[in-house]
Symmetry: C2
Subunit: 149 residues, 2 copies
């Protein structure tokens, strides 16, 4: 799984058109201020252990949100972060898993942009040294495999 | 080289802080409306033939701008698109090469965000089916190695 975490003054999206793999029953339009935006590509390797990939992703997101002092989290599917994607079913399962686990922790406002839709979006990145981070997660490994700041 | 091409209503950036590899003599703040924003990660493989990587990138950018009917281009260095980056010197050389080649073609407004700076930025993506495209370029190969839309 590849994560790109952006400390955002503002993030908003609006669905425009379905792709063939569009998720149903979605929130068509939403926004968050003062948020950690988590662009996420679920990869084929994650299918070996979706639960562990989700657990590691949630740990990374919670740790980063803590560092930044934000409790607003926007999960945003972003296929362009990887050349080796999971199946759409696995991707939706992982994205929902991350959303649900964060919500269960309490103390966070968690929103998730829908998978498989063309979406207009707008984001502003704060620009401080920790405002753009990327992580590569491999299920079964103890910690995030690669960190880049 | 990895490219992420975003058809943008608006893109703007502002430098905030240098990293150790910050480019000098930069434009510290700039913006473009109705632009093709080209997020670009120059990769180690590009160092084998920077000129060819630049040529292929320029071809892709020109073709995409033509499809979208835009003549405004913002080149934006984005290390988070790759786990195997070129040296900073090679990256700056490639980014400048792309900027210069596009400018020489005429008919484009070309801007380039500086390499090696922490930057605040804001972007809005139009959301139509061709408004987000990614490309992987490998020097010496005839065409972009991978296309994702
Ligand atoms: Mg950064
Ligand atoms: Mg798209």
């Amino acid at each position: 799984m590849r994560l790109l975490l952006i400390h955002s003054d503002h993030i908003e999206y609006e669905t425009r058109k379905k792709t063939k793999v569009a998720e149903e029953n979605v929130v068509p339009k939403d926004a968050l201020d003062e948020a950690l935006t988590v662009f996420c590509a679920v990869e084929s390797v994650d299918e070996e252990n979706i639960e562990d990939a989700v657990r590691q992703a949630v740990d990374e997101i919670v740790a980063t949100a803590g560092q930044l002092g934000t409790t607003n989290i926007m999960i945003y599917p972003y296929a362009h972060l990887s050349a080796d994607l999971a199946s759409p079913e696995a991707a939706v399962s992982a994205l929902r898993g991350i959303e649900d686990a964060l919500a269960r922790k309490g103390g966070f406002v968690v929103k998730r942009a829908p998978f498989g839709w063309y979406k207009a979006f707008s984001i502003s990145c704060k620009g401080h040294p920790l405002s753009e981070l990327s992580r590569t997660i491999v299920p079964g490994e103890g910690a995030a495999a690669e960190k880049k700041e």
